[in-house]
């Protein structure tokens, strides 16, 4: 494609020739002819973007706020010079260039390659994709420009940040809810021996107790104890209302951070953690333990976005049957715009669950982005206090989480009203 300069040169050339002919001026005609000759000669070489591109990332998954190192290797595999080639790696606008540059102007000879290295900071959680690589080849005098792209993508998942919460639980004023890893006397994946049983096809060979086999002549396998103290259920509110606030400070963001941190804390203690995210529907990750579950939870949390308006009671109704008896339930919700919250909490408490409501103060998040009249704010705040008091009255532990408060700090405030 011709650039503006080329178009002007060409039009100018034609105009000069014609006007030169009109006024019988040879200088004008020659100037015009030279312009056109310049374009013609330059059209012989147009450059190309026939290059091979290889992108390497320092990690495929990383935590919010971490740095990502990217290296783009551009190799000219053709037998021609690329001429002036601008290479631009398309990166999501949510990512910040910390160092280096995601573009380069180069001219690769046949077989030559160039490396573009840059560092990105990822301030938002989510699923992102780097790419495609845009190419723009020009000729030396900027007369022709061609744009193309190499459809080469690299996907990355940015997990929510994990905050340290151990101290919060240690220093909590409330009676210790969770007393640490004590073996549950139920069979399952674990480390301690539970019992011997007969071999069933499908059991891994490594579990076969060869001594018992030698002794009895029957194939026997070792059964292990489940390591988890308990199953912890985290219910995360991802309804549309959870988006109120700024991009980094809103109930959902804080909710994902707290869910991830709690899950990390309990999984580290070899507890089982289940995660239910409710927005316009319910997505449920059954309780499990280990790194795999940790990864699953983080992935689920990375992809959460605010939408829908599912009432909490609908969630508890559908899940309560699956909840292990007496297991603690964490509800992370602003508790706004949902009249079923007290009933749901009461119901859970009634079933013997230890319910903790971690409630980001929605009205205070709203205050970050909107000018709320003072009196309305106070009344709204009062209403919220009433709501939390009701929940506390139902037997749940309630945490009123203010925007500027750390998670551990918030957890230490856990109290019954």
């Amino acid at each position: 494609m011709w650039t503006r300069k080329a178009s002007f040169t060409f039009t100018g050339g034609i105009a000069l020739i014609l006007i030169g002919m009109m006024i019988a001026n040879l200088q004008m005609m020659i100037l015009g002819l030279t312009f056109i000759a310049f374009i013609v000669v330059n059209s012989w070489i147009s450059g190309h973007g026939d290059v091979e591109v290889q992108r390497t990332l320092s990690a495929d998954n990383l935590y919010k706020g971490d740095d990502l190192y990217v290296e783009l290797l551009v190799t000219n595999r053709s037998n021609r010079n690329t001429q002036l080639l601008e290479v631009y790696d398309n990166i999501p606008h949510e990512m910040k260039l910390r160092s280096g540059l995601n573009q380069m102007r180069l001219n690769l000879k046949p077989g030559e390659s160039a490396r573009i290295r840059y560092v990105l900071r990822c301030p938002l959680r989510g699923h992102f994709s780097i790419g495609p690589v845009s190419l723009r080849s020009r000729n030396t005098f900027n007369l022709g420009v061609d744009e193309m792209y190499v459809d080469h993508h690299s996907d990355i998942v940015i997990f929510p940040q994990i905050k340290e919460v151990e101290e919060a639980f240690l220093r909590s004023r409330t009676p210790k809810m969770y007393t640490g890893a004590t073996t549950l006397r139920t069979p399952g994946q674990g480390s301690e021996f539970y019992s011997l049983r007969e071999y069933v096809p499908g059991d891994p060979f490594k579990n076969i107790n060869w001594k018992a086999f030698a002794r009895t002549g029957d194939l026997m396998v070792n059964e292990k104890c489940r390591d988890a103290v308990t199953d912890l259920y985290i219910l995360l509110d991802s309804r549309d209302i959870a988006r109120i606030g700024t991009v980094l400070k809103n109930p959902l963001e804080m909710g994902t951070v707290s869910a991830a941190s709690l899950a990390a804390f309990f999984l580290k203690r070899r507890d089982s953690v289940a995660l239910a995210i409710f927005d316009d529907s319910l997505s449920y990750l059954p309780p499990d333990t280990g790194d795999k579950q940790y990864f699953k939870i983080l992935s689920a949390l990375a992809g959460v976005s605010p939408k829908g308006n599912m009432p909490l009671q609908a969630v508890t109704n559908s899940l309560s049957g699956r909840f292990s008896r007496g297991s603690p339930v964490f509800i992370i919700s602003s508790c706004e715009g949902d009249g079923t919250v007290p009933a749901a909490v009461r119901d859970l408490v009634g079933r013997g669950h230890e319910v903790t409501v971690l409630s980001p103060s929605s009205i205070d998040f709203e205050r970050l982005v909107s000018r709320i009249p003072r009196m309305s704010y106070e009344v709204l705040k009062l209403e919220r206090q009433n709501r939390l008091t009701t929940l506390a009255g139902s037997g749940a532990m309630v945490i009123d989480w203010m925007p500027d408060m750390d998670l551990s700090q918030a957890l230490m405030q856990v109290r019954g009203y």
């Binding site: 030169g20 002919m21 006024i23 019988a24 001026n25 040879l26 200088q27 004008m28 005609m29 020659i30 100037l31 002819l33 030279t34 312009f35 056109i36 000759a37 310049f38 013609v40 000669v41 330059n42 059209s43 012989w44 070489i45 147009s46 450059g47 190309h48 091979e52 390497t56 990332l57 320092s58 495929d60 190192y69 290296e71 290797l73 190799t75 000219n76 595999r77 037998n79 021609r80 010079n81 001429q83 260039l97 160092s99 280096g100 540059l101 380069m104 102007r105 001219n107 000879k109 046949p110 077989g111 030559e112 390659s113 160039a114 290295r117 560092v119 000729n139 030396t140 005098f141 900027n142």
Partner: protein, 404 residues
């Protein structure tokens, strides 16, 4: 995977002996940039000299203007003849003024790189010097005159006559400045990295050519009477060509001068703007990229290509224009050889061919053929192939990279 990604290379980390970065300070001293600037300067001077020798010298040059002024005022102008070139013949009238223009333009470019404070001081100094030179002598003699005679009076004529010298001096310098405007502005633009100055230099030259073209237009030239005779008119009909390539005579000397003007304008424009474009790119790079040897290497590549293309393509442009202009005689030969048809005879002798119309049509035909040639001759592949034959190690190096 994570281990594969290394952080951006840095000249200090890689420990090169003489670390090269893309900082402007360093880049300005790079040989390619200097070469481009020198090429631009030479093209500027060449263009100026060609324009002057074709259109100005002997018809409307500054020495003739100075002579006329000297006759009008009946006195010599205060500016020395050795400086203006008065009394010399032909192009030698312009040699000293051009050197002056180069120095002035260079000085202005140098000034552009000083701090705003220094710039302001120099400008202030210049204005004060100008004022002092203009009215200093008058004020001194007038005030001391009043002081000695203890009377308040207007300056008398002898005191006023002291204004003559500075006024004439400034007028002479202004005339010289106007004549040298393209050189001064061009040099300032090339070395002071000012797009606007380059545009001024080109614009002024084109404006001059445009005004000259209008004045040379027969209708207007006729109206100018005797003044019109001083406009150098280049006729449309031409004598036999004397300049060509491979023994094929294509254009006349006069036509060649006009081609040179056009080509040199382009060389000047492309080289000077090129320098600014590349330096601007380097300037905008983040600090870490400026120190990255990869960026330095690619900058070298790009600059080398620009240098090569400046010679190659602009040279070819000149040759192509020359051939295009002379192509009508080639075409004429072809048509003359193909006898038999009434039309062939007509065309071979047509006044359109010898006038500009045939020139343009045949030039357009030649350029069209050249343009179409790109679809048949894969120049880029040919050059790439030649390159790969000459530098086989680059290809292997590239393969090694991929194996990683």
């Amino acid at each position: 995977m994570a281990d594969d990604v290394s952080i951006q290379a840095d000249v200090t980390v890689t420990g090169e002996i003489s670390p090269r970065t893309l900082h402007l300070k360093m880049l300005r001293k790079q040989w390619q940039i200097i070469s481009l600037q020198v090429i631009a300067t030479i093209a500027l001077i060449g263009m100026y000299l060609e324009v002057v020798s074709t259109y100005v010298v002997g018809s409307i040059d500054h020495t003739m203007l100075f002579d006329t002024i000297e006759i009008l005022i009946g006195d010599q102008l205060p500016i020395g003849d050795w400086l203006t070139g008065e009394g010399r013949d032909g192009m030698s009238r312009f040699y000293v003024p051009i050197i002056l223009g180069l120095l002035l333009g260079g000085g202005m470019a140098l000034l552009a790189f000083q701090t705003p404070k220094v710039q302001q001081r120099v400008k202030l100094g210049f204005i004060i010097t100008l004022i002092v030179a203009l009215v200093g002598q008058l004020l001194l003699s007038w005030l001391t005159g009043m002081l000695f005679s203890f009377s308040l009076r207007l300056p008398n004529s002898s005191e006023l006559s002291s204004l003559e010298w500075p006024l004439l001096m400034i007028m002479s310098l202004t005339i010289l400045f106007l004549y040298l405007l393209p050189v001064i502005m061009g040099v300032r633009g090339i070395w002071g990295l000012s797009r606007r100055s380059i545009a001024w230099a080109i614009g002024f030259t084109l404006l001059f050519l445009g005004i000259h073209a209008i004045l040379a237009f027969p209708l207007i030239n006729g109206q100018l009477g005797s003044y019109g005779d001083s406009v150098n008119i280049i006729g449309a009909q031409f004598s036999d060509p004397t300049i060509g390539i491979f023994g094929l005579m294509l254009v006349t000397k006069q036509q060649f001068a006009l081609i040179m003007i056009a080509v040199l304008i382009m060389v000047f424009q492309e080289s000077s703007y090129g320098v600014i474009r590349y330096l601007e790119y380097a300037y905008r790079l983040p600090e870490s990229c400026k120190r990255d040897p990869e960026y330095v290497r690619q900058m070298d590549n790009v600059l080398n290509t620009h240098l090569r293309h400046t010679f190659g393509f602009l040279g070819l442009t000149g040759i192509a224009t020359t051939i295009a202009l002379g192509f009508h005689s080639v075409l004429l030969g072809i048509v003359q050889d193909s006898t038999g048809s009434q039309w062939a005879g007509q065309i071979s002798e047509s006044i359109e061919l010898s006038l500009t119309y045939g020139l343009v049509i045949s030039a357009a035909m030649f350029l069209s053929v050249m343009a179409i040639l790109r679809f048949f001759v894969p120049w880029e592949r040919i050059w790439g192939f030649i390159y790969s034959r000459r530098n086989p190690e680059v290809i292997t190096q590239g393969k090694e990279v991929v194996e990683i």
